[in-house]
């Protein structure tokens, strides 16, 4: 019978009914301490440290603090030091502060090559969906489940429903994978993918680089999806080839990976079709990622929304964002620009942003920063001279970490500040209490930094 890629991976990992084997467990400092405590209290061991990998990212200051003991914030320091102690006690490899492999967990997995097609991957982090870009089944879990995977290398899971989103046509010039996924969430809503493993397909997806595919799968959770997936192809194989964890006998393994894509005729519970060529650069206006419009559009008018509950949500969002209905999006003036996060902090993202700012200056009204996703991305960018491009334009060039995506470290917005951000969530207070987040692509963020307001990157020069 014709199978979907999801079916193939799920079936290959079912230990018993509803119990799934996990090939890779990624761990970070925020969602793991209580799980390790649970193991200790029950006298349990980590079953497979060799399938587990840890890094510090959420709490990491991006100012060049190069050891956990030097973190100024006491609670952050304790959390990272706790991770270090736990990894030592349970023999889990860890890239903490000071390691040249430290970085955002969803950046370093693919970078090291531990993220591979056909695998099951979990992490106590909702953006684990990122790894599905390689044709893996990857999803976020809670701390109780982290403890369960540490102890058993398995997870109790209900089989999700399947959804395929097919993109016809090609993305236009200046339109990026970030715009594609924001437009998709705008159409389906933040609950539109709930209960589903989502496969992104079609020529517009096949044409993308791995970082672009990761951006799309990363934000699957913002549509409520359990996992996002993209079929592995030559682009995928070439990305993995030669990386530190790439498999031995690579070509033979690739032949196995070629069997993973969805069979012709396989059926999905839900099918969605979207015309990629009709997608424009997108900017969020509200307080969830589904509240998004084209940059050429205006702030929507809640009065035009039929459902009373949705109208009330929109009114509340506009009040929080301090926006008036009907304002052109290009008139919004961010005071802060953040380029980074597990969504958009890979070398390609930085190259795209650098190409925009090269030879220009950040507007006087704007404070802008670039935070590479990992130490390796940072080193690569510096080898290419991108840091000089950014600094020359007036951007701050920081050390790797989650940074201002979620404000668990010193990088936060001040109350009332408006920010053009390449991250993934515009929830109230996400980047700092009272902060106002507009989600955009790296190019759009870079151009907003230069002009001091949003611009349509397609006709900006």
């Amino acid at each position: 019978m014709a199978q979907t890629m999801f079916d193939k991976i799920w079936d290959a990992h079912e230990v018993s009914d509803g119990l799934i084997y996990i090939d890779l467990h990624l761990v970070h400092e925020v969602t793991s301490p209580q799980a390790f405590d649970g193991l200790r209290m029950a006298g349990r061991q980590v079953r497979r440290p060799d399938k587990t990998l840890a890094t510090a990212d959420h709490n990491v200051p991006t100012d060049g603090t190069m050891a956990a003991r030097l973190i100024a914030d006491e609670l952050s320091r304790v959390q990272v030091e706790t991770l270090e102690r736990n990894c030592e006690e349970f023999h889990i490899p860890l890239y903490s502060l000071g390691s040249e492999r430290q970085g955002i967990v969803h950046v370093i997995g693919p970078e090291l090559g531990v993220t591979q097609p056909g695998m099951t991957i979990v992490c106590g982090d909702s953006h684990t969906s990122t790894h599905g870009a390689f044709g893996a089944l990857a999803f976020g879990i809670g701390t109780s489940e982290v403890e369960h995977v540490l102890a058993t290398q398995c997870l109790v899971q209900k089989r999700p429903k399947s959804m395929r989103i097919s993109y016809a046509g090609a993305l236009g010039a200046g339109v990026t994978p970030k715009d594609l996924i924001l437009a998709t969430i705008g159409r389906l809503g933040t609950g539109g993918m709930v209960g589903h493993a989502v496969e992104y397909a079609g020529p517009a997806i096949e044409a993308l680089s791995m970082p672009g595919r990761m951006t799309i799968c990363n934000m699957t959770i913002e549509g409520g999806g359990r996992a996002g997936m993209i079929a592995p192809d030559e682009t995928t194989f070439e990305w993995v080839r030669g990386r530190p964890a790439a498999p031995q006998g690579f070509d033979a393994v690739v032949e196995r990976w070629r069997q993973l894509p969805t069979d012709p005729g396989a059926s999905f519970d839900t099918e969605v079709e979207i015309d990629a060529s009709a997608i424009s650069p997108m900017v969020t206006w509200g307080t969830n990622p589904g509240m998004v419009v084209e940059v050429t559009d205006r702030v929507p008018d809640p009065a035009a929304i039929d459902s009373p509950a949705d109208r009330e949500s929109a009114e509340r969002a506009l009040a929080y964002m301090d926006l008036a209905p009907g304002t052109p999006m290009t008139e919004l003036r961010p005071e802060r620009v953040f380029i980074g996060s597990c969504t958009n902090s890979r070398i390609e993202d930085l190259r795209e942003a650098a190409a925009i700012v090269d030879g220009r200056k950040v507007a006087g009204s704007v404070r802008a920063m670039v935070v590479p996703g990992s130490q390796q991305v940072k080193a690569q960018a510096e080898a290419e001279g991108l840091h000089e491009v950014f600094r020359g334009a007036g951007f701050e060039w920081r050390e790797a970490g989650c940074s201002m995506c979620l404000g668990m470290n010193p990088d936060t917005l001040i109350e009332g500040e408006r920010c053009a951000s390449t991250s993934n969530r515009n929830f109230e207070g996400r980047q700092g209490k009272g902060g106002r987040t507009h989600l955009v692509s790296p190019r759009m963020a870079a151009a907003a930094a230069i002009e001091g307001h949003f611009v349509d990157i397609r006709d900006w020069s």
């Binding site: 230990v15 018993s16 119990l19 084997y21 090939d23 890779l24 925020v30 301490p33 209580q34 079953r47 440290p49 060799d50 399938k51 587990t52 990998l53 709490n59 914030d73 609670l75 952050s76 304790v78 706790t82 023999h91 490899p93 090291l112 090559g113 531990v114 591979q116 056909g118 695998m119 909702s126 976020g140 809670g142 701390t143 109780s144 489940e145 403890e147 369960h148 102890a151 058993t152 290398q153 933040t190 609950g191 709930v194 209960g195 959770i221 409520g224 359990r226 964890a245 498999p247 196995r256 969830n288 589904g290 509950a309 949500s313 668990m408 969530r425 929830f427 109230e428 207070g429 209490k433």
Partner: protein, 187 residues
């Protein structure tokens, strides 16, 4: 986890859709390394800014897609620590729902009209075994996975159950052979 059989009492209402886990427990409180004591930080900004009022009743009725966003289990920990024993909503985010069932906070899906009825009644009785919510407005049935229900009713430890079948895991691992995937400790 303590067994859950019947949850009964007054109802608190949070009439908002898409309430994300960043609101339920803002990020500055995720730095603690303990599992307890999160209740005082529940809906920290909304409660302190006077945007909402919330009594620590046994039952909370909320809007659709409750618990969207981050996977932080601190969200159900905070709700439970605050005093809630069950959350009733038209829909939940997947990870949040799973997290609730792991910590013994009962998530109950009812359609929007029934949620409003429970909210309006002000008091309700939830019977896990019968899968019913009873209030002055009527008796409403809800769905729950049989294995989740079994675990909740008996307060069972998921890990203990899985380790009871460790032989199957051993077998799976030895059958995996060369397809076993990357070895993180060899990097």
């Amino acid at each position: 986890m303590r067994p859950i059989d019947v949850i009964e009492g007054r109802v608190s209402v949070l009439d908002r859709h898409d309430v994300d886990t960043d609101q339920i427990i803002p990020k500055q409180f995720l730095k603690r390394v303990e599992r307890t004591g999160f209740g005082e930080f529940l809906f920290y900004d909304w409660l302190r800014d006077g945007e909402i009022e919330l009594e620590p009743n046994p039952i909370l009725v909320a809007g659709r897609n409750f618990g969207c966003g981050s996977s932080r289990e601190h969200a159900p920990w905070a709700l439970e620590d605050f005093g809630f024993e069950a959350i009733v909503a038209p829909s939940f985010a997947d990870i949040f729902y799973a997290n609730c069932t792991k910590v013994g906070l009962l998530p109950v899906v009812l359609d929007e009209a029934h949620c409003r009825a429970v909210a309006g009644a002000g008091e309700a009785r939830i019977d896990v075994d019968d899968q019913t919510v009873t209030c002055a407005e009527g008796v409403f049935e809800f769905e729950i996975e049989p294995d989740v229900k079994h675990r909740l009713l008996h307060g069972l430890d998921d890990i203990g159950i899985t380790l009871g079948g460790a032989a199957a895991i051993d077998e799976f691992e030895s059958a995996q052979g060369p397809a076993a995937g990357p070895v993180t400790t060899a990097l």
